[in-house]
């Protein structure tokens, strides 16, 4: 009897926390998204038009958000994989130092780091001069362009890609790679057929941890973007805080949540859930 209760007891705090701070607000937001009227005369009226209007008016910002987040995720993966690989297999006694270096930026707040990028990318900065010289700044400036927003997103979410990748690479049994070599596979072959598949859980976890928050991000677009680079998070913020149009903001948040859910479900189906769960799901 006692054994049966214990798991529920352990689940308790987490469940209460989630219900209070996630499920309950979600219900209020669902209700809010179906209101009509203006400040002072809001009323609940099953106003589904909030949803259709939201999609109609802000479709381009949705597309933009998914594009920026997707680009940032791919860039993060390309940057993070070699780094995580190096930390796991080549770093030797430098491993802890390198891991610390990955986490160190978290000691400064997200906001400050993004504002620092404003300075790094400003028009007269050496970085911008170099980018201009090699033809990577066609509009004459880097700050206030989509490139700057994607770069900011990539930078800010990079550690969320590196850490799961490192964890999955570190778990690989080196004897498997040695076995591949014993069976006359080249370095490329053993990487493609042994290391890469075994690190799949890290890739899936890392891409999700990067992509999901990046889609909803608004800080990078706010500071590093200019006209025409605003993401859906900026729209929700401005609907809520500058237009006091709470219902549309709530509807947009739901649409965003559903879209992310669809993308994630399709992705996991495609990548295979056992890749995410690792050995245990088999």
């Amino acid at each position: 009897m006692r054994r049966r209760i214990v798991p529920y007891f352990l689940l308790g705090p987490g469940t209460i926390w989630l219900v209070l701070f996630f499920v309950l607000p979600l219900f209020y937001m669902a209700e809010l998204s179906l209101w009509s009227g203006a400040v002072g005369s809001f009323e609940f009226s099953w106003h589904w038009a909030n949803y259709s209007e939201a999609l109609e008016l802000y479709d381009s910002q949705f597309v933009r958000s998914f594009f920026y987040a997707g680009a940032a995720t791919v860039l993060s993966l390309l940057l993070a994989y070699p780094l995580a690989y190096a930390i796991a297999f080549k770093a030797g006694r430098w491993r802890n130092v390198m891991l610390f270096a990955v986490i160190a930026p978290f000691f400064t707040t997200y906001l400050i780091r993004t504002i620092a990028w404003e300075t790094i990318l400003s028009d007269e900065s050496p970085v911008t001069e170099v980018l201009k010289a090699i033809g990577l700044a066609p509009s004459g400036h880097v700050l206030a362009t989509s490139g700057a927003v994607i770069a900011g997103l990539t930078y800010n979410y990079l550690p969320f890609m590196i850490l799961p990748l490192y964890a999955s690479l570190d778990r690989i049994d080196v004897r498997l790679i040695e076995a591949a070599k014993d069976l006359y596979s080249s370095a490329t072959q053993s990487f493609l057929r042994v290391t890469l598949p075994l690190s799949a859980p890290g890739i899936v976890a890392g891409t999700l941890l990067t992509f999901i928050p990046a889609v909803g991000d608004y800080v990078n677009a706010q500071f590093l973007g200019g006209v025409g680079n605003r993401m859906i998070g900026n729209v929700i913020q401005s609907l809520y805080l500058s237009q006091s149009d709470y219902p549309s903001a709530a509807a947009l948040s739901f649409v965003l949540m559903v879209l992310i859910m669809i993308v994630v479900v399709v992705y996991i189906r495609f990548a295979g859930s056992e890749a995410l769960m690792g050995e245990e799901a088999r």
């Binding site: 007269e124 006209v227 401005s238």
Partner: protein, 384 residues
């Protein structure tokens, strides 16, 4: 090796959706939760106690007061003041406070400082209290004549101006010497080097002025036409970005060479970079004021009125004016400052003469349906 359990997953999802839907239904049927419709009752008047005591919480914009006034008031009155600089945008502050005000609460604050149009909206929604003028002799005596009876509050029954100012252009004299008008901001020579304010009631009327339209007589079509023009400049890359006070960053780093900006900011920016200068656009500027108001449910309104009265003493106001460099709403400050700092007293941005501001316009009226449409159109440009 791949074993999936699609049946179970689909079943779980269906159950989850059903639970969510039924819960939503429950909430909907229950109704009545959350924020209700506004009560448009008459504003009640502040109920004064004999002596102002206790504590007072004030919400204001950042860098909008000198360091000495609050402690001096505390010493003079025995009231302990919590002075919070938590207002960064009129609309944002309103949106954050609105659910509380709806319930008749003010979040513990007794004074807000917000723009004319924002306090008008709050007054119409029944969120503000009227003053008891018997405790405001200094305010009655020293309020500058031109601000005594604005259209939204002809007797100054519920607003007391904190500071006024002008919205015009701030340029870098070295990098954009020829920019003298709002129309000049659309010159392709400065493509990608121009910031516009994200304030619909200042940016759009200024562009109207460039098109020769008087903002105070503007029709909805005039608003839309000006917004179209801004949209064109945004899409062509002429406008770098829409900012609040943060244009200061772009100006100091050289990322922007000409912006739509506020007079008081320019005086402060000039101290760091002498090349920066506020210019009166040839079309004229926008004039605005920000007002102290007492919200419904404000604790200790007696102390709030004591504060309003205190900052209307010319000696006190002189300290504030000297620090913030906006246009002071209090008579009798200029002679005091002339003794301390003659240059400041002659500054047209702080004590503008009637001829200096002759082409300037007050914040134009924008209400109801028209307001919603205009704000929506302008925000669509901001969110591009």
């Amino acid at each position: 090796m791949r074993i999936r359990k699609p049946g179970r997953t689909a079943g779980t999802v269906v159950t989850a959706v059903l639970v969510l839907a039924s819960a939503l239904g429950l909430i909907a049927c229950g109704g009545g939760s959350g924020i209700e419709g506004g009560s448009s009752t008459e504003a009640e008047e502040v109920k004064l106690e004999n002596e102002p005591t206790g504590s007072l919480t004030i919400s204001n914009w950042p860098l909008y007061i000198d360091k000495g006034t609050v402690p001096a008031f505390e010493k003079a009155s025995g009231i302990s003041v919590k002075y919070i600089e938590d207002i960064n945008s009129n609309e944002e502050f309103f949106s954050k406070m609105q659910p509380l005000l709806q319930e008749g609460e003010s979040g513990g604050r007794s004074i807000f400082v917000l723009a004319d149009y924002e306090v008008t909206k709050m007054h119409n929604l029944g969120y503000l209290q009227e003053f008891d003028k018997s405790a405001l002799p200094e305010f009655e005596k020293n309020l500058t004549a031109s601000l005594k009876s604005p259209p939204f509050d002809p007797n100054r029954d519920w607003t007391a101006p904190w500071q006024s100012g002008m919205t015009g252009i701030i340029v870098n004299k070295e990098l954009a010497p020829e920019v003298r008008s709002i129309c000049d901001l659309f010159d392709p020579k400065y493509k990608g080097k121009v910031d516009f304010l994200n304030e619909v009631r200042e940016t759009v009327p200024l562009v109207m002025k460039c098109e020769g339209v008087d903002p105070s007589k503007a029709t909805e079509a005039d608003w839309m036409k000006a917004i179209e023009k801004i949209k064109g400049a945004a899409e062509s890359g002429q406008i770098r970005r829409f900012t609040g006070n943060d244009y200061a960053r772009d100006l100091t780093s050289g990322d922007a060479v000409a912006v739509i900006g506020w007079s008081g900011d320019a005086v402060q920016l000039q101290a760091d970079n002498p090349d920066l200068e506020w210019r009166m656009p040839t079309e004229g500027c926008m004039l605005w004021s920000e007002d102290m108001v007492i919200p419904v449910g404000a604790p200790n309104p007696t102390a709030a009125e004591a504060w309003i009265n205190y900052v209307y003493e010319p000696e006190v106001q002189a300290n504030i004016a000297e620090y913030v460099n906006y246009v002071t709403p209090v008579e009798g400050v200029k002679p005091i400052l002339a003794k301390r700092d003659p240059e400041l007293a002659e500054n047209q941005l702080i004590f503008p003469s009637a001829s200096f501001t002759k082409n300037c316009s007050p914040t134009p009226p924008l209400e109801g349906e028209e307001e919603l449409k205009v704000i929506k159109a302008f925000d669509a440009v901001l969110n591009g």
